[in-house]
């Protein structure tokens, strides 16, 4: 008896073709060349430790950060979350026809990272839970005449709740939706229920530890999107909007414990999603068959097999990073391992972003046509509404040729690699004032980055094979 694992994302009617061998070779060679150059042509003074933040025009800043805009953005966020939950509960069960899945897992889940790396933290004003939390906190203050008291957040936990949360979101998206041993994708109803549960959990946590504290450490979406926003060129300082040196803000991001786990979880979950239908497919099927033979139900077997391999991805990506850190600690004049582990975590953010672009860029371009086409006019998928006259619009798969997708995928990985190396080199110069020692330590990070980038290329070249 054989089993089939069809499309895990029930959203997509189309999958990317694997990157051809010659492009794989081009990409990998380019990565090696770039790396050699990085070793030989490094700068000797850190350039990214200072954000070089410069305020934007004050009126502009005040208008954008003022209360009316904050309230408006908060309301938009709450409305979109509420509407997604409503559509999930009351709309069609066809995943691709329901507003909820595309909005949550494509428009928001991919859209915020894509735009945050340019503009900075744009999720913060739209965060529906933060908006509710602040409104409740403000109302409490008015009534009680004092601010609300919070428990002290255990600092040791740091961003671990968000790291585990991030894995859970991806688990829900790509693993949970199975039926009788076949991956069918998450149903809109399950997605809406999950959003309700998560909302309740988040509001309780915000009540316990404070809205901003929880957004910084535990609220999955704030931490995850916030991580990518560190690469962006705009930021708020002392209530004022300003421009900053792109990438520079990331150098201070990983000071909170568990930050490395967040970026590793991001790389690992994207890897798993990319590998489950290609590189890991056979291994997953074997484990699945073995588990189902032990008497487990088909659904449980498939979920468990997937979960095991997702965990392996997390541990594997983490190990590669930790080996790099260990290696660096052997270079004379190295700071303690703990410091190194934290100190280089941000250098993986560009890699995590490159993985996202490589794996989801085409999905985003195609599915957003649905989002702003038929899903906008017929959000419940019941074919009874046509709000904007676009209910019958389809997805034009011709907007991206296979070649264009391949070049974007390989280009993203190579650029992510270069940016990662840049940040790592910069950090090494900060730790080892001596250029020679810094360069020596970077052989290790170079190996880590080459491993991730080539692994990413490999995943693309065997996708759906």
């Amino acid at each position: 008896m054989s089993f089939f694992l069809p499309l895990a994302h029930a959203l997509v009617a189309r999958k990317d073709l694997p990157v051809p061998a010659w492009l794989f070779a081009w990409g990998a060679s380019l990565v090696l060349i770039v790396s050699f150059f990085a070793l030989s042509a490094g700068w000797r003074k850190p350039r990214f430790e200072d954000e070089k933040w410069r305020p934007l025009d004050e009126r502009f800043s005040r208008a954008l950060l003022g209360y009316p805009v904050q309230v408006l953005c908060g309301l938009i966020g709450i409305f979109l979350l509420g509407f997604s939950i409503y559509a999930g509960l009351h709309g069609t069960e066809a995943p691709d026809r329901n507003f909820a899945l595309t909005f949550i897992f494509v428009t928001a889940w991919l859209g915020f990272p894509f735009f945050s790396v340019i503009f900075g933290d744009i999720f913060r004003p739209f965060n529906p839970w933060r908006a509710v939390g602040r409104a409740v906190g403000g109302a409490f203050g008015l009534v009680a005449g004092q601010g609300s008291a919070h428990l002290r957040y255990p600092e040791r936990l740091g961003r671990w709740p968000a790291a585990i949360g991030l894995l859970s979101v991806v688990w829900l998206e790509v693993i949970y939706g199975t039926s009788g041993g076949v991956a069918v994708g998450l149903s809109p109803h399950a997605c809406a229920v999950a959003a309700l549960v998560y909302s309740a959990y988040t509001l309780v946590m915000m009540g316990l530890f404070g809205v901003e504290k929880w957004c910084e450490t535990g609220e999955i979406f704030s931490v995850y999107f916030g991580m990518f926003s560190q690469l962006g060129g705009f930021g708020v300082r002392d209530g004022r909007l300003g421009r900053r040196l792109p990438l520079a803000a990331s150098t201070h991001w990983a000071t909170v414990p568990g930050s490395a786990a967040v970026v590793i979880a991001s790389i690992a979950s994207t890897s798993f999603d990319g590998a489950q239908e290609g590189a890991l497919k056979d291994a997953i099927i074997q484990t699945f068959e073995w588990l189902s033979e032990t008497g487990l139900s088909l659904t449980a077997s498939l979920r468990l097999a997937d979960t095991i391999f997702m965990a392996i991805c997390f541990v594997g990506v983490g190990l590669v990073y930790l080996i790099g850190v260990r290696g660096m600690s052997t270079v004379r004049g190295a700071p303690p391992v703990k410091e190194l582990r934290r100190g280089f975590a941000h250098t993986l953010i560009p890699i995590a972003f490159a993985y996202l672009v490589a794996h989801y860029f085409s999905l985003f371009v195609f599915q957003e046509q649905a989002q702003f086409g038929y899903l906008l006019s017929d959000p419940l998928g019941t074919a009874t509404t046509d709000l904007f006259g676009t209910a019958n619009n389809g997805i034009d798969f011709k907007v991206l040729s296979a070649n264009a997708i391949w070049y974007v995928q390989v280009g993203a990985l190579v650029i992510g690699h270069v940016v990662g190396l840049t940040l790592a080199h910069d950090r090494a110069i900060t730790y080892w004032g001596n250029y020679r020692q810094a360069a020596r330590s970077q052989y290790w990070m170079l190996a880590v980055m080459v491993a991730f980038t080539c692994f990413g290329l490999y995943l693309l070249s065997v996708a759906n094979a």
Partner: protein, 138 residues
């Protein structure tokens, strides 16, 4: 200064070697592609040169016999396949968005040009059962 020059020279040497490697590997890639083309051409033409039609048989449980069928074409070629179904359902070719109803014991034929690149699935729409994976290479 001196060691810097050495590094730059070394860097250029690496580039030169890599460019040669590219050329070699790229050529290989092309011949690979050609091989694939030949294969697909033979796959889709019958013994006397007439276009062959793949038949996908769906059993009475609504499952494809022999697993999900795999068809590979190059862009511009004509996609042809026939579905003989043991159940009543709609056969839906995703991406191309072509749906055809089939009755239990009946069959439907698909015949359309491969205009979209990528990997697409055809499924029994009501059962959400995938029966075909269609790959269209550029």
């Amino acid at each position: 200064m001196n060691s810097n020059t050495t590094r730059v020279v070394a860097g250029i040497a690496v580039v030169a070697v890599a460019v040669v490697l590219f050329a070699v590997l790229r050529d290989d890639g092309k011949s690979d592609n050609e091989k694939v083309e030949e294969q697909t051409k033979t796959e889709h033409t019958g013994a006397n040169g007439a276009p062959a039609t793949t038949t996908i048989v769906v059993d009475k449980e609504g499952k494809p016999v022999g697993g999900i069928a795999q068809l590979t074409y190059n862009e511009g070629e004509q996609v042809r396949f026939k579905v003989e179904s043991g159940v009543s359902d709609e056969v839906h070719m995703h991406g191309y968005d072509i749906g055809k109803d089939v009755k239990a014991g009946g069959s439907v034929t698909f015949d359309f040009p491969a205009t979209l690149e990528g990997v697409f699935e055809a499924e029994l729409e009501d059962r959400k059962e995938q029966i075909l994976e269609l790959t269209v290479n550029p």
